[in-house]
C-alpha cells in the first residue's frame, strides 16, 4: 500500500457512489427500533422504483439525535426523517421524486445539530462503518501515511503536545505528555491499549464512536504506535457492546488486508497489529491498571500507581493507554495541525468533547461541542430544556464518579478545571439531566448502589465504606435517620474519597458530597431536626 493506491481506492469509491444516498442509521440505538428492517425496506423500495442506478441505501453510523431515532437522511438535500418506521420506506423513496412521504420530517439545522462541532463524530451518519473504502474516501488513513512518511515519531508527539489534547477518559491527563513518557520509557516491547470499557450509567459516547467509525480509532492507535514505538495494540471493549466488537473486528480485518495494519505499513519499517479483548462486565476494568490485569488474564483489580503503565504496564512493558475518544481525535490533529486544534476550546481544555445527553431532557442523544460551552447552552439550547416542559434542576456530569451541578451554576463552562471547581468532573462524558421530580437523595443512593456493586473488593474503604454509605442513604430516604447519621455519612464519604486505592473508590462519594453541598434542604426534609 502506498499513497497512490490509497488515493485510487478513494477515487474508485467516489466513482462507484450513486448520485443520491439514503443514509439509514444502523447503530445499536436505532437497530433496537428496527433500523435493519427499515434499511431492507428502503433497499426494496429503491429497486421497485427502478432507481438502482441513481440511488443507494447506505447503513451508516450514529447520527446522534438518538431520542428521535430511527433516523434516515437523504443526501444531497439535507433531508432528515425521524421516528422512521419500516412502512415509511416507500414514501421516503417516493419523496426523492416529489412524491408524498408520511415519515416525520426533522431539521438538520436544529440547534441540536447546528451548535455541534464534529471532529470525533465527523463521519457519524455519513459513512458505512463496515466498509473501509468509505472511510478512505472520506480522507481516512492519510494522516497515518503522513505521520509515517513525513514526520518523525518525535514530531508526531510534538504535534499532539502542541494541540493541547487531554485524555478523554475522564482525568484529562495531557495526551502528548503521556505519549512522550511512553516513548522515553525503555523496553524491548511496548504496547498500545485502547480503553473501550465505557461503563458509566447513561454514557454511550465510545460505543457510538466504535460502532460508527472504527477505522478512526484504529488510525489513531496506529499513529500512536508509530510515535511511541509500539508494535502491538489491544482494544479492550466491554462485552455489552456486541455491535462495536463486530464492527471493530471487521475493520481490523479490512485494514490488515489492505496493509494498513500488520507488517511494513505503507511499505515502511513500521509494524503494528491490533487485537480485541472483550471485557466481562466489571465496571472497575475501566480503571487502567485493572484493565491491564484483565488483558493479562488475571482478575480485573486495580493496583497502586506508581509505577504508571507508561513505565510498567501490560506484562511489565511500557504501555500507552488512552480512551477511545482520545484516539479518535488523533487523525484530525495530524491532518489539520495542532494550531487548528488548539484554537478550539478554552485556555486549558482544547478541542471538543462528546457528551451523552440523557435523563429528563427534551433532546436525548450524543453531542460533540467545543470545550468551554456552558452547561446552560448544552442543556437549554442543544438539549431543549426539560422533557415535559418542566424545570431542569441539576445535571450530573461524569457518571457515578461525578457530581451533581445545580441549575444555579449552569453558567459554568464545560472544561476540566471549571467542572472540578464546582465539585464535579468532566468524566468520560455522561450528562444526566434531572428535573424537579427527581429526589436528589434517591439519586445519590442510586449512584452509591452502583459503586457498591461495582467495587472490586480489594481495598477496605471502598469495599465496606460504600456499603455503609448506601445503608445510611437508605436510612435517610426511609425517614429513619438522625442528624448523627448525616455526620457519619460525611465522615464516611471523606474516608472513602481519601483512602481508597483507585479512582472508583476515590470518586464514589462525589454524588453524595455534591448533593449534600447543593441540595442540603432535600436531606433536611428527610431527617427530623437536621
Amino acid at each position: 500500500m502506498d499513497l497512490q493506491e490509497l488515493q485510487q481506492i478513494a477515487r474508485r469509491e467516489r466513482e462507484r457512489s450513486r448520485r443520491i444516498r439514503i443514509h439509514c442509521c444502523t447503530s445499536s440505538g436505532c437497530q433496537a427500533s428496527d433500523a435493519l428492517e427499515i434499511k431492507r425496506r428502503l433497499d426494496e423500495a429503491v429497486s421497485e422504483a427502478g432507481l438502482d442506478s441513481e440511488v443507494e441505501v447506505v447503513g451508516v453510523g450514529c447520527l446522534g439525535f438518538c431520542g428521535q431515532g430511527p433516523m434516515v437522511t437523504v443526501e444531497p438535500g439535507d433531508v432528515l426523517y425521524e421516528h422512521v418506521r419500516p412502512d415509511h420506506a416507500a414514501g421516503i423513496v417516493a419523496a426523492i421524486n416529489g412524491g408524498t412521504c408520511e415519515a416525520e420530517r426533522g431539521d438538520l439545522h436544529h440547534p441540536f445539530f447546528a451548535r455541534q462541532y464534529p471532529i470525533v463524530r465527523k463521519n457519524g451518519g455519513k459513512i458505512d462503518p463496515e466498509r473501509i473504502e468509505e472511510y478512505i474516501a472520506a480522507g481516512g488513513y492519510r494522516s497515518l501515511y503522513r505521520a509515517i512518511n513525513e514526520l518523525t515519531p518525535a514530531e508526531v508527539i510534538d504535534e499532539i503536545t502542541r494541540s493541547g489534547l487531554r485524555g478523554r477518559g475522564g482525568a484529562g491527563y495531557p495526551t502528548g505528555l503521556k505519549w512522550s513518557t511512553v516513548a522515553k520509557s525503555r523496553g524491548d516491547r511496548k504496547y498500545i491499549v485502547c480503553n473501550g470499557d465505557e461503563g458509566d450509567p447513561g454514557a454511550f459516547m465510545d460505543r457510538s464512536v466504535l460502532e460508527s467509525d472504527p477505522h478512526l480509532v484504529l488510525e489513531g492507535m496506529s499513529i500512536a504506535a508509530y510515535a511511541v514505538g509500539a508494535d502491538q495494540g489491544y482494544i479492550y471493549v466491554r462485552g455489552e457492546y456486541p455491535l462495536a466488537i463486530q464492527r471493530l473486528q471487521k475493520a481490523i480485518n479490512q485494514a490488515k488486508k489492505l496493509g494498513l495494519l500488520g507488517s511494513q505499513i505503507f511499505d515502511s519499517a513500521f509494524d503494528f497489529r491490533v487485537d480485541i479483548r472483550v471485557g466481562a462486565g466489571a465496571f472497575v476494568c475501566g480503571e487502567e491498571t485493572a484493565l491491564i490485569a484483565s488483558i493479562e488474564g488475571r482478575r480485573g483489580q486495580p493496583r497502586p500507581r506508581p509505577p504508571y503503565p507508561a513505565e510498567s504496564g501490560l506484562w511489565g512493558k511500557p504501555t500507552l493507554i488512552n480512551n477511545v475518544e482520545t484516539f479518535a481525535n488523533i487523525s484530525s490533529i495530524v491532518e489539520r495541525g495542532s494550531a487548528w486544534y488548539a484554537n478550539i476550546g478554552t485556555e486549558t481544555s482544547k478541542g471538543t468533547k462528546v457528551f451523552a445527553l440523557t435523563g429528563k431532557i427534551r433532546n436525548t442523544g450524543l453531542i460533540e461541542v467545543p470545550m468551554g460551552m456552558t452547561l446552560r447552552e448544552i442543556v437549554e439550547e442543544l438539549g431543549g430544556g426539560a422533557a415535559d416542559g418542566g424545570e431542569v434542576k441539576a445535571v450530573q456530569t461524569g457518571g457515578p464518579s461525578g457530581g451533581c451541578i445545580p441549575a444555579s451554576l449552569f453558567d459554568t463552562p464545560v472544561d476540566y478545571e471549571s467542572l472540578a471547581k464546582v465539585g464535579s468532573i468532566m468524566g468520560s462524558g455522561g450528562m444526566v439531566v434531572m428535573d424537579e421530580s427527581t429526589n436528589m437523595v434517591e439519586l445519590a443512593k442510586f449512584y452509591m448502589e452502583f459503586c457498591m456493586d461495582e467495587s472490586c473488593g480489594k481495598c477496605i474503604p471502598c469495599r465496606v465504606g460504600t456499603v455503609q454509605i448506601h445503608r445510611l442513604l437508605g436510612k435517610i430516604t426511609a425517614g429513619q435517620a438522625t442528624p448523627a447519621d448525616i455526620e457519619q455519612l460525611r465522615e464516611l464519604c471523606q474516608l472513602v474519597r481519601d483512602t481508597s486505592l483507585c479512582g472508583l473508590g476515590q470518586s464514589a462519594p462525589n454524588p453524595v458530597i455534591s448533593t449534600l453541598r447543593y441540595f442540603p434542604e432535600e436531606y433536611a426534609a428527610l431527617v427530623p431536626n437536621e
Binding site: C459, R463, V464, V467, Q488
Partner: protein, 233 residues
C-alpha cells in the same frame, strides 16, 4: 545502591534506594500499622492501614518507594482517625466475634483494634452468613473471619508456587476460594503445606481441632522461608 535521606515524623533518617516507606520506617524504629502486608510476600496496598502523609498527601507506605528529601508523617490525627474507621469497617463487615474465635489473643485484627483504641463499632453490622469449609482433613476456613487481605493467596502462589487460593466475586461478596471454587478438601492443587495458615492474620484459616484462642499463626515463618531460600539459592 545509593542511599536516600528523608524525614519521618520530623527526624532525619537514611534509607536504601528502592526501599518502601514501610521498610525505611521500621529500620528507623517507627511502627506503622499494617494488615495486608506480610514480610516475604509481594505488597498489594489493599488494606490502606499503612497510609502515611507524604508532603500532606496520603500514600500507602508498603508500596511507595522512598525518595530523596521526602517528608513523611506516620501518625497524624487524620491518619489515626482513618485507621480506626477502617478497622471498624472490617469489624462491621463479617462476623468477628473474638469471644468464640480460635485466634483470639493471637489475632492481628484484634491487635489493631486494641492499638488504635477501637473500643466499639459505630457502623451497622452487616452480619452476612458466611460458609465454613472443613472439608480438608487437617485445615479449615471460616469466611466469617476473613478480612480479604489475600495473604493466603499470595503465600500459596508466591512461596509454595501453587496458587490454590484466589478470590471470586466483587465487593463485600468477594470470597477467597480454592481451585475452581470447590471445597478445599477436593482441591487437586493444594499440597497441604499449611503456608496459608502461617500467613493468615485472623482466625479465618485454622488447624482443625483448635478451639477458642488456641490457633496461633506464625506469619514470621513466611519471611524465614523466603530468606533462607535466598541464602541457599
Amino acid at each position: 545502591m545509593a542511599a536516600k535521606t528523608l524525614k519521618i515524623n520530623g527526624t532525619m533518617v537514611s534509607a536504601r534506594e528502592g526501599e518502601s516507606i514501610l521498610e525505611a520506617a521500621r529500620d528507623a524504629g517507627v511502627a506503622i500499622p499494617t494488615l495486608c502486608h506480610l514480610d516475604g510476600l509481594s505488597d498489594v496496598g489493599a488494606c490502606r492501614l499503612c497510609l502515611v502523609e507524604v508532603g500532606g498527601r496520603l500514600r500507602p507506605a508498603c508500596t511507595t518507594a522512598v525518595a530523596e528529601g521526602m517528608e513523611i508523617q506516620t501518625n497524624t490525627d487524620r491518619l489515626h482517625a482513618y485507621r480506626r474507621q477502617i478497622v471498624e469497617l472490617l469489624f462491621a463487615e463479617r462476623g468477628h466475634v473474638c469471644a468464640v474465635c480460635v485466634a483470639s489473643g493471637h489475632c492481628e485484627l484484634q491487635d489493631l483494634a486494641v492499638s488504635l483504641g477501637m473500643d466499639h463499632v459505630r457502623y451497622e453490622y452487616l452480619a452476612p452468613t458466611c460458609a465454613v469449609d472443613i472439608s480438608h482433613e487437617r485445615f479449615g476456613i471460616d469466611h466469617n473471619r476473613c478480612v480479604l487481605c489475600v495473604r493466603c493467596v499470595r503465600a500459596c502462589d508466591e512461596v509454595e508456587g501453587v496458587h490454590t487460593w484466589d478470590v471470586s466475586g466483587r465487593g463485600t461478596s468477594a470470597r477467597v476460594i480454592s481451585d475452581m471454587n470447590q471445597p478445599w478438601g477436593e482441591s487437586e492443587s493444594c499440597t497441604s503445606c499449611g503456608k496459608c495458615l502461617l500467613a493468615c492474620p485472623t482466625g479465618a484459616l485454622f488447624s482443625r481441632g483448635a478451639t477458642v484462642a488456641e490457633m496461633e499463626h506464625d506469619p514470621g515463618r513466611i519471611a524465614l522461608i523466603v530468606e533462607s531460600r535466598k541464602v541457599r539459592g
